[in-house]
Symmetry: C2
Subunit: 278 residues, 2 copies
């Protein structure tokens, strides 16, 4: 099965657009967890168990594990192995390197970690992206327009006709021959999100910034999903992970995840009802 | 000591511009090494011992280790620990992520691996680069113009005044307040290399592509070094690592490294003599 079909199935079956971001850090572990790298796995498992009913996807931010070196990679491997088969797993790695090196990274994330999808930085162009696209079952989310202030530095440079991030969206359409090339577009730019969706109407979008970063959830759903109010995953990390620092952290995480799922569904229903009225 | 001063000292003391790239892969290990991840460390140590007299720097391509997960990270850590203090060590990671995540990566490469410098993908802009620049002792090489065919896709988009890679060079100048921000510019584009050097006359350059990729070594030295024929590292990986697949691999690696060092020195002398004639 091609990644896009897989993603659409998961979204429809689980009836949610929520992606839970496992950006777990030792210093923020709730009461009762020893502040040590080994505790991250137990914390992740508890968060996964609590939020699973509301999530279509889980995203691991590779940096948060890699900072602990080999030990961190061990926790990453075990976290991915713990995630069930019927959710989309995303390695948020933002890698990007020349062909033979990109192939190594694809092996690291697809074969060793078993991730369904990976985020890739497209600055080095097609031959740096292609090795990630070769397996049609695996999805690739290319950085397009990001949610941080620095996105202004290079992403919006324009040749008069198109900005760099719009060119990336256009290229992603061309690179989607296996139906597995998607885009990362920040929720902090809802108008520009609509522009990217117009360029790439059918691609899978990964949309960060709806949680702690304060992006506009409602407009991001209207502007970021496809014509069926699907094919987009909305990521929230810190707002869910650190909903409570007490022993009720798992219930609190579940509560924020449920609330976010509900808000996303409400916005989807609005978009669908508007479409049916047409 | 600031990174740029450290780099210049190392280049002058060791009298070489060569960077040896440790892109080691299990499948290409010479005769006598079991084809297993554990063998990579012994191979790396033998290559380091053999090429050390000719090298100013060693660059580890993180992907080649990360593909083996936690075990690969272990080999990476031990390889970095084996490298002596009086060479520049570069983690070729090409990372780039938002501020708090970039800080994690900086910790992974500087504190855990102990690398002197790291390669960073600047597509996400200043706040993704800044955490790597905070320690003035550590150097940052921003991807500017790369040596692969895909460099044509986004790096050369022009706003009429400047191309994206030229804007990156200009920004790198601004971000060099700690004297530790450099650039990656491929040897496969010697004319454009001269253009980047004109924009950033004093920055440290990491120049890949002189080995197996077939870049023009002579012109790259004329165009890529600073006015004193310094401040540039020229990387060769495969041509050195796989100079022989027999039991003489270390002697063969030393021979290629020595030859490359000599070619680089010859080109430097030419540039210096031209300067003195002026």
């Amino acid at each position: 099965m091609k990644f896009n079909e897989y993603l659409r199935n998961i979204i429809e079956t689980r009836d949610t657009l929520l992606c839970v971001g496992l950006d777990s850090v030792v210093e923020k572990l709730p009461d009762g967890f020893p502040q040590h790298i080994d505790s991250l796995l137990d914390f992740n498992k508890a968060v996964i168990d609590a939020t699973l009913p509301f999530a279509a996807a889980f995203k691991v931010n590779v940096a948060f594990y890699e900072m602990y070196g080999a030990k961190g990679w061990g926790v990453l491997e075990k976290t991915l192995a713990y995630l069930p088969d019927d959710v989309v797993t995303i390695a948020d790695a933002k890698r990007g390197d020349i062909g033979n090196t990109a192939r190594m990274y694809a092996k690291a994330f697809y074969d060793n970690l078993g991730a369904d999808a990976v985020t890739v930085n497209p600055y080095m162009g097609f031959d740096s992206v292609e090795p990630f696209l070769e397996e049609e079952r695996r999805g690739v989310f290319l950085l397009c327009l990001t949610s941080n202030p620095g996105s202004a530095d290079f992403q919006r440079i324009s040749d008069g006709r198109q900005k760099v991030y719009e060119k990336i969206a256009e290229k992603a359409n061309q690179w989607n021959s296996h139906q597995n090339c998607g885009l990362v577009v920040g929720a902090t730019h809802p108008d520009e999100l609509a522009g990217v969706r117009a360029i790439a109407p059918t691609l899978a979008f990964l949309i960060p910034g709806i949680g702690a970063q304060g992006g506009d959830l409602w407009h991001s759903v209207q502007n970021g999903t496809d014509e069926f109010a699907s094919m987009a995953l909305f990521n929230s990390s810190r707002a869910i992970l650190y909903a409570s620092s007490g022993s009720d952290f798992a219930e609190a995480a579940a509560s924020v995840a449920r609330h976010t799922r509900d808000k996303l569904q409400e916005a989807r229903r609005h978009k669908r009802s508007k479409r049916e009225l047409k």
